[in-house]
């Protein structure tokens, strides 16, 4: 059976990549390392009521509650490595045991990622049976995902937990392909409660589920049959999603901390662009705003006194105004994002093409949000690259797109590891 054959190369591949990740343990790590150590310390040492109020360190908890619970779970094991890392006051504590534990925690949580990759590989449609292992689509997909440069750089060098999260995303996508939309919705809601950046692709889920699941039948020509709206299905979906949110935010709502938590999750004071510009539209906008004054002064269209200097790449995040071009507000970015993803959403509303169409829409939502979102991190490009891998191994055109997107996307991640 093809599945048992898969194990003969899959396990060695996983083992090999894991060994490489272990070799990267002594590599450079960024401030995100201290961020996660701090969050482990907060969740371990303090009661839940103080988690979103703790401000000893500048790296305050700004991920949803499920991620806080994950840190709490990790902190239980951390105490066997080095208890000192769990003291909130020990800022920038980096003993060897701490580094080892943190790195191993990323490698271990990658199990979820591996599980997600297995599901994806099993789900690929096999057009032609090829004996040559290098030509098998599931092998290629496994390599593209397991050895993804972005994941290796961001998770195992820069230090984050994206592997685990993308595992959940893959599991959710595969459930959609298997015709289990409720499971998919649950997994996605759980994922959003781990890292709310996945809101970028929530519209794809919302529109697709509404159209393909809540409206149970289509007309002959494939367009929407309004009368087939299944209230029961809609209710089930809504209840389940609300239940997940209730489990996640419930305790904080009860404690009356919801505004504080939301303020932490959505810090709009942080500015249009991240410290290192994500290569999106606003980066070009900022660049133009820098270049135009120079040109203007050279052509003597502007007086120097009218120009204030704005620094946007100092490595810090702060609000600022643009010099010449109009300043951009969060609302503007939201409108731009929605405009950019509307064609895709309309497409799956009017002519749903099943899970494949959903996946394409998901990728487009990710790209649109990346391009026009407020305070986008360059790491967000992974939300577009990784799902596109799934399409790339089945369609030649998508493979071409993937080649360009992956190469440029991964290149844009280099500022994250500016040292060797």
């Amino acid at each position: 059976m093809a599945v048992s054959k898969m194990w003969s190369w899959f396990l060695p591949l996983v083992f090999g990549v894991t060994l490489l990740k272990c070799l990267l343990i002594p590599a450079y790590y960024s401030t995100d390392f201290e961020v996660h150590r701090n969050w482990m310390a907060i969740t371990y040492s303090l009661p839940m009521s103080k988690w979103y109020y703790e401000e000893t360190s500048r790296w305050r908890l700004d991920y949803p509650p499920f991620f806080a619970w994950l840190e709490y779970y990790l902190s239980y094991y951390a105490q066997f490595f080095d208890e000192e890392m769990l003291v909130v006051q020990n800022l920038n504590y980096t003993s060897n045991a701490t580094v080892l534990f943190q790195r191993l925690s990323v490698i271990t949580t990658d199990m979820v990622f591996i599980f997600g990759v297995i599901s994806c590989c099993k789900n690929i449609k096999r057009t032609k049976e090829s004996k040559e292992i290098l030509e098998k689509p599931d092998f290629i997909l496994a390599v593209l995902l397991l050895c993804n440069f972005g994941i290796l750089i961001i998770d195992h060098i820069h230090f984050q937990y994206n592997g685990f999260l993308f595992g959940l995303l893959f599991l959710s996508i595969v459930k959609m392909f298997k015709g289990r939309p409720v499971d998919s919705a649950v997994l996605f809601t759980v994922l959003m409660n781990f890292k709310h950046i996945f809101i970028y692709v929530a519209p794809a889920y919302g529109i697709y589920l509404l159209r393909s699941y809540c409206f149970a039948e289509n007309k002959q020509d494939g367009s929407i049959q309004w009368r087939s709206f299944n209230f029961l299905r809609f209710n089930v979906l809504a209840c389940i999603v609300c239940a997940v949110f209730a489990v996640s935010f419930g305790p904080f709502i009860v404690m009356g901390q919801l505004p504080q938590v939301l303020a932490r999750l959505f810090p709009f004071k942080r500015g249009l662009s991240h410290a290192y510009w994500a290569p999106n539209f606003w980066a070009q906008y900022n660049a133009a705003d820098k270049v135009l004054p120079v040109i203007g002064m050279k052509l003597q269209l502007l007086a120097p006194a009218n120009i204030s200097n704005a620094s946007m790449t100092g490595g810090l995040v702060q609000k600022y105004k643009h010099t010449i071009l109009p300043s951009v507000s969060p609302l503007t970015t939201l409108v731009c994002t929605l405009l950019s993803i509307t064609p895709a959403l309309c497409n799956i509303w009017l002519k749903p093409r099943g899970p494949r169409g959903f996946l394409q829409c998901l990728i487009l939502c990710a790209l649109g949000s990346f391009m026009f979102g407020w305070h986008v991190h360059e790491k967000a490009i992974l939300i577009a690259i990784l799902p596109l891998s799934l399409l790339a191994v089945e369609n030649r055109n998508d493979a071409g797109t993937y080649l360009i997107l992956a190469t440029t996307g991964h290149l844009s991640l280099f500022p994250l590891v500016f040292t060797v």
Partner: protein, 498 residues
């Protein structure tokens, strides 16, 4: 997939592994006053850059030979000078006379690690690549061989971890072998001379080269063999002369260099190393019973006895296969019985074993794993435990998966057809022995790290490691000797008539 894309992928993976290993500490990191091999190399850059050439090997007020004096032949000194020129362009502080002693900084580490990587990429890796190209067999096997050979842990850990330049001397020797393989005897000889002049330890390989070339010339006496021999001798002499030119100005110079590279007043062995004398001294304190002179003669006699069979066979039956076996046998014999052997010298035996990795995957893999394990005490001292575990496991993974090392244990695969009647159930015995061996290595590695030795036996774990390694090496010495000595003799012309 395109053939050369696979090769490029393999090269990139091996580069990543090397770079990842180089992130770890080097020998003597943060350990004043003497530091380690890293400081020695930096010091040689300082000496060769700042002092005139006639002071390099002498003890002067500017050059304290007690502090990492130059003890390698001139080629190392020239290489250090080249690195020093580059260092001067980046930061002269790194090689400033006297003030740069014990200099350590992240940028300097990056520079030094980069010099090793450059040497590896320019000399060693192309040699392996060319060797793979010359090998016969299906493309999949060749690429698998390339990956396994480039992932050999011992060389990566010592060169890119501990910090040395073995890739240069081993790479040049490999170019020498390639020259002989390709019938470019003169180029091969020049390459090997350069290797010898880089590290005098390459003398371990000198006899096989000599025996093969001498034997080939003898075979072809009627076809201009004598002329060939004289040409080879001339080429060797000229290569040596070119390398030693600045030191041939006076007799005192040449003598001093020789004194530095062959220090005969050192002991039979130092530290715990997996050779016979160190292992014997567990039972019988050889160093105390015998005088220095006797020790010298004893080791000389033992080495000579062990290398004689394989060298004689090679002289009278000079084949490439025999040449590779002779390289293994001689370097292993020297390692086991010679004078003042360092544990790193096992790399000299490991390199020829790499060359037969695709022909005898089982035994070669086993040997290479044990060779890495034998250096464990050194690696632990340098803080290289994590890369040691990862690279050893990775090597075991790729050899068993890609070269089917664990499956190729039949009598034919081990080339022991003649002896199959004496060793019943050879495949099962071999597999069980291998399993036991790997488990023992893993256990010994674990206890060396996790446990403290008993107070009355503080060197227990290094001694156990060296004993274990020695027993294995003796077994491999016997095996490879058997394979070489019983190889059928083929009468044929070795080069065409001109």
């Amino acid at each position: 997939m395109e053939r050369w894309s696979m090769v490029a992928l393999v090269l990139m993976v091996s580069f990543i592994v090397r770079w990842a290993v180089s992130l770890n500490p080097y020998s003597g990191a943060g350990k004043p006053p003497m530091y380690g091999d890293y400081e020695a190399q930096r010091h040689w850059q300082e000496i060769t850059f700042n002092l005139p050439i006639d002071e390099w090997y002498f003890n002067t007020s500017n050059n304290d030979l007690e502090y990492w004096g130059l003890d390698y032949p001139p080629f190392t000194a020239y290489h250090s000078l080249l690195c020093a020129y580059v260092a001067e362009l980046i930061d002269p502080e790194w090689i400033a006379l006297f003030t740069s002693q014990g200099y350590e900084s992240p940028e300097h580490k990056l520079f030094m690690r980069a010099t090793v990587v450059v040497a590896d990429i320019t000399i060693y890796v192309p040699a392996i690549l060319y060797y793979m190209h010359l090998c016969e067999g299906p493309w999949a096997t060749k690429v698998s061989f390339l990956l396994c050979a480039l992932l050999y842990p011992g060389l990566i850990l010592i060169d890119h971890g501990h910090f040395q330049y073995n890739c240069i001397s081993l790479g040049l020797t490999l170019w020498g072998v390639l020259g002989l393989l390709n019938d470019r005897v003169f180029l091969g000889s020049v390459a090997f001379c350069m290797a010898l002049n880089y590290k005098q330890m390459e003398l371990y390989h000198a006899l096989p080269f000599f025996c093969y070339l001498f034997g080939s010339c003898l075979r072809n006496l009627k076809n201009g063999g004598l002329k060939q021999l004289i040409k080879i001798i001339l080429v060797v002499l000229i290569s040596f002369a070119c390398c030693w030119l600045p030191f041939l100005t006076s007799f005192e110079q040449s003598l001093q260099v020789i004194r530095r590279i062959f220090p005969v007043d050192r002991g039979l062995f130092e530290d715990k190393v997996g050779n016979v004398w160190c292992s014997l001294s567990v039972i019988v304190k050889v160093k105390e019973i015998l005088s220095q002179q006797t020790q010298l003669w004893l080791s000389f006699a033992a080495t000579l006895l062990t290398i004689l069979p394989t060298c004689v066979k090679l002289t009278f039956d000079p084949t490439i296969k025999g040449f590779k076996f002779a390289l293994i046998n001689c370097s292993l014999a020297f390692f086991l019985f010679s004078f003042h052997v360092h544990e790193k010298s096992i790399l000299l035996a490991a390199m020829p074993v790499l060359l037969i990795l695709h022909e005898l995957p089982f035994m070669a893999t086993w040997f290479l794993l044990v060779s890495t394990f034998s250096m464990l005490p050194l690696l632990l001292k340098d803080g290289l435990l994590l890369p040691y575990i990862c690279t050893s496991l990775a090597f075991l993974l790729v050899t068993t998966k890609l070269l089917s090392a664990f499956e190729k244990v039949s009598v034919e695969d081990l080339q022991l057809q003649r002896w199959s009647t004496y060793i019943p159930q050879l495949p099962r015995v071999a597999k069980s022995a291998f399993r036991l061996s790997v488990i023992a290595m893993a256990t010994l590695s674990l206890i060396s790290v996790a446990l403290n030795p008993p107070p009355q036996l503080p060197h227990l774990f290094p001694v156990l490691v060296s004993l274990f390694s020695c027993i294995h090496f003796l077994m491999f010495l016997m095996y490879f000797n058997i394979l070489h000595l019983w190889e059928p003799v083929v009468q044929r012309q070795l080069w065409k008539l001109k």
